[in-house]
């Protein structure tokens, strides 16, 4: 019979922190952490000391003072008497606008180009490779400048539309493409019970109703198909559900169009998309699309050939194989690098000032910083903004990634 006894209780010795593998990694982590904290602390105290020596302080009071400058593109109410804070918000909205537009367009172009790069057609494949290599390997700032320069140099300016022997004319008296931007007719409600934004909200509600009704019809058709094996023809019902209510509400509201017309120095009226926005949007989109195209290509190539062959043997046609079999699986590979491309596009939008687009870097980090001289405060706010936006994009895209990724049970 064996006797058991507890192993002798080891007393903890200081040398174990280095010699014992159980503790060693913690020891080094703690040392590194202390080192980093000391360094950060030194930098911060150095900053505070130097600011004090220069007689400066950190204060955000300037945000409440009138900005004093004008901004061309503003999505909210703003004039030169608004505060610096409002100016910053105008910049934030402009940044978000170009980022959202850019991400959407870059994704569309990127996916199309990525798929076409794998095309069996030699010409298309080569053209797409040339596009990707050219746009990927030239800095985005250069693309922004080139596109803006082409924009202002090639398109006619408002002065070319003027006079008896004008060298440029509007397209169908509705659209004007000038070096300062594009003008298009703007719909508005003449009569009707709700004007302006409320009127558009009503239209939106009607469209939402149509969508719900169309979905119900789709479900009804699906149930019928399950039960009888025959899918009833629904496209005319769906089309009616979409078009009839919309036409009715627009008629009741008295839809009218405001056409842009040359008055004084510029076209007035209608919808105006500034050259700076279009150039920046386009440049960021086609630049980032080149990277996304490579991600898409990599994602597709990651799907084994057997999937294509299996789908083909079921009788699916090539484009259905791509849409139903390959791309859904490829998304799992594509999404993670796509997140970083979205982040890149958003951060690259800070180059906007090169074309005079007033994003957050142009308002808060540009004019406000200059006029108030509060460089440190403005830069800290800018960093906070970009950090927040980037993390938010990451969070949203991670949710989507979790939704499409392979579920292992």
């Amino acid at each position: 019979m064996a006797t058991y006894s507890d192993p002798p209780a080891e007393s903890f010795k200081l040398s174990q922190l280095i010699n014992d593998t159980r503790y060693r990694s913690y020891t080094f982590q703690v040392i590194a952490l202390i080192g980093i904290l000391l360094l950060v602390g030194y930098l911060i105290s150095n900053l505070i000391n130097n600011l004090q020596a220069a007689g400066l302080n950190i204060s955000y009071q300037f945000l409440g003072e009138p900005a004093g400058y004008d901004i061309n593109q503003r999505l909210i109410e703003y004039d030169s008497q608004s505060t610096h804070f409002t100016a910053a918000i105008v910049g934030v909205l402009n940044t978000l606008l170009v980022a959202v537009l850019g991400c959407a367009m870059a994704t569309v172009i990127g996916v199309v180009v990525g798929v076409l790069r794998l095309s069996r057609n030699w010409l298309i494949r080569t053209l797409m490779s040339v596009y990707v290599e050219i746009f990927r390997n030239v800095p985005v700032l250069i693309w922004i400048l080139i596109i803006m320069a082409v924009f202002t140099a090639v398109l006619p300016q408002p002065r070319d539309f003027r006079g008896a022997n004008a060298t440029a004319s509007m397209v169908g008296d509705m659209f004007a493409f000038t070096g300062r931007g594009f003008y298009a007719p703007m719909p508005y409600f003449e009569t009707g019970f709700a004007q302006g934004a409320v009127g558009w909200a009503v239209v939106l509600v009607v469209l939402l109703g149509s969508w719900l009704a169309a979905r119900a019809v789709g479900r009804w058709a699906a149930r019928n198909q399950e039960a009888t094996g025959l899918r009833p023809t629904t496209w005319h019902i769906t089309a009616g559900l979409w078009l009839v209510p919309l036409a009715v509400v627009l008629y009741v509201q008295g839809l009218a169009w405001e056409y842009p017309a040359l008055k004084g120095f510029n076209f007035q009226g209608g919808i105006f998309a500034r050259a700076s926005l279009i150039a920046l949007w386009f440049a960021l989109s086609i630049y980032t699309a080149a990277f996304i195209a490579e991600n898409v290509r990599a994602g597709i190539l990651a799907i084994s050939k057997g999937q294509t062959e299996a789908a083909a043997s079921l009788g699916l046609r090539p484009n259905r194989i791509m849409n139903l079999v390959i791309l859904p699986q490829a998304l799992r590979v594509i999404i993670p690098p796509l997140i970083s491309q979205y982040l890149n596009l958003t951060k690259n939008s800070s180059l906007a000032i090169a074309v005079g687009y007033m994003d957050i870097t142009g308002t808060l980090g540009g004019i406000t910083l200059n006029q108030t001289g509060r460089a440190i405060e403005c830069v800290l706010l800018l960093m906070l903004f970009y950090l927040t936006i980037s993390l938010a994009i990451s969070a949203v895209m991670n949710v989507y990634n979790n939704a499409v990724k392979l579920k292992e049970r």
């Binding site: 130097n50 400058y69 120095f265 510029n266």
Partner: protein
């Protein structure tokens, strides 16, 4: 997160590190070179010539300071700054003095902690338009697209002017004068606005200057002058009195041509004190007695500097106007050298 804050703190600390240095004069002497902040290129005021040598009205002031302090008008490192970077460059100690068409305003002097040391050019903001537009007054500019340099007082004046006259405009913000020129010429904007001197300098560089007019309205006061960091008064005195020496030299008739003769001693005691043959003004500044003589000799007096770079016989063609001596009905008035 941690990394971003860390990098930010690093940048900020780097920016602020130079600000603590107090004795700029000692630094300049030890370095053997004056770091002078100028524009990125505005013909007549500060621009590199075909050989890469900086030349111009503001550049002349930098050279005069270098001649006074270091005895060598060539011992200047010209640091091109934009409207955006100039104040950071000065506050961080990257440059010793900023001579870059900078308007003396209350908030820059008081809140930004700089010292303006006088006015070397009395300017005002104007508008330039193509003649073909047929505009004769700035008040007819309702709805116009206006090109404007960001980060300058012109931006604020413009907003005030249009608000006061209750007319609308579309601002196109631009970083530098060089970028503004092609946009204006291609018609991306109807109007270009900046200080009237800058408009004249810009127009002089056009292919067909006669196709453009500067509108009569001057909508602001823009006293342009050199500035240094607040707190180093000894260095501020040197820059202030170098500028005053150039102005006083014109008033007293001292030119780069006759200065050697006058340095031998004249019967005007003020000239003698200025040129160091009488009194100890140079020593009071912490320099030697010939400081002002070297400054004037290297670049000429204020009038010579003006005529050579931006005067009526240059392509820029500015008349003296407000920048004449007080004795000729202008605003230039140097305190006495005594």
């Amino acid at each position: 997160m941690k990394k971003t804050v860390f990098l930010g703190a690093l940048t900020v600390a780097g920016l602020a590190a130079g600000a603590a240095a107090a004795a700029t004069l000692d630094d300049v002497k030890a370095r053997g070179k004056l770091n002078c902040g100028v524009t990125t290129g505005l013909v007549g005021f500060a621009a590199p010539d075909a050989n890469g040598n900086w030349d111009g009205f503001d550049v002349g002031l930098c050279r005069a300071i270098a001649a006074a302090v270091l005895g060598d008008a060539a011992a200047v490192e010209f640091v091109p700054t934009t409207g955006k970077t100039r104040f950071t460059a000065l506050a961080s100690g990257e440059i010793d003095v900023l001579a870059r068409n900078t308007t003396w305003t209350f908030s820059r002097d008081v809140d930004l902690k700089f010292d303006f040391l006088g006015v070397n050019y009395y300017d005002g903001q104007g508008f330039m338009v193509p003649k073909s537009l047929g505009v004769s007054s700035a008040k007819e500019l309702d709805g116009a697209t206006v090109c404007i340099q960001t980060g300058t007082t012109t931006e604020l004046n413009l907003a005030d002017f249009f608000r006061a006259n209750n007319i609308k405009y579309e601002p196109v913000p631009i970083e530098t004068n060089a970028e503004a020129q092609p946009l204006y010429l291609e018609g991306a904007c109807d109007v270009y606005t900046t200080d009237a001197s800058g408009l004249a300098a810009t127009r002089a560089a056009f292919e067909n200057p006669q196709d453009h007019v500067v509108l009569p309205e001057i909508i602001s006061k823009e006293p342009l002058g050199p500035l240094v960091r607040h707190g180093d008064n000894d260095w501020g005195d040197i820059v202030r009195w170098t500028l005053n020496a150039l102005i006083a030299a014109e008033e007293l008739g001292v030119t780069s041509a006759n200065i050697d003769e006058m340095a031998g001693g004249t019967n005007n005691p003020e000239i003698n004190r200025l040129l160091g043959t009488e009194g100890t003004l140079g020593e009071m500044l912490g320099l030697d007695k010939d400081w002002a003589m070297r400054a004037i000799k290297s670049v000429g007096n204020y009038g010579e500097l003006f005529e050579r770079n931006i005067g009526e016989n240059t392509p820029i063609g500015l008349s003296r106007g407000l920048n004449a001596q007080w004795t000729n009905g202008g605003l230039l008035y140097s305190p006495p050298f005594r």
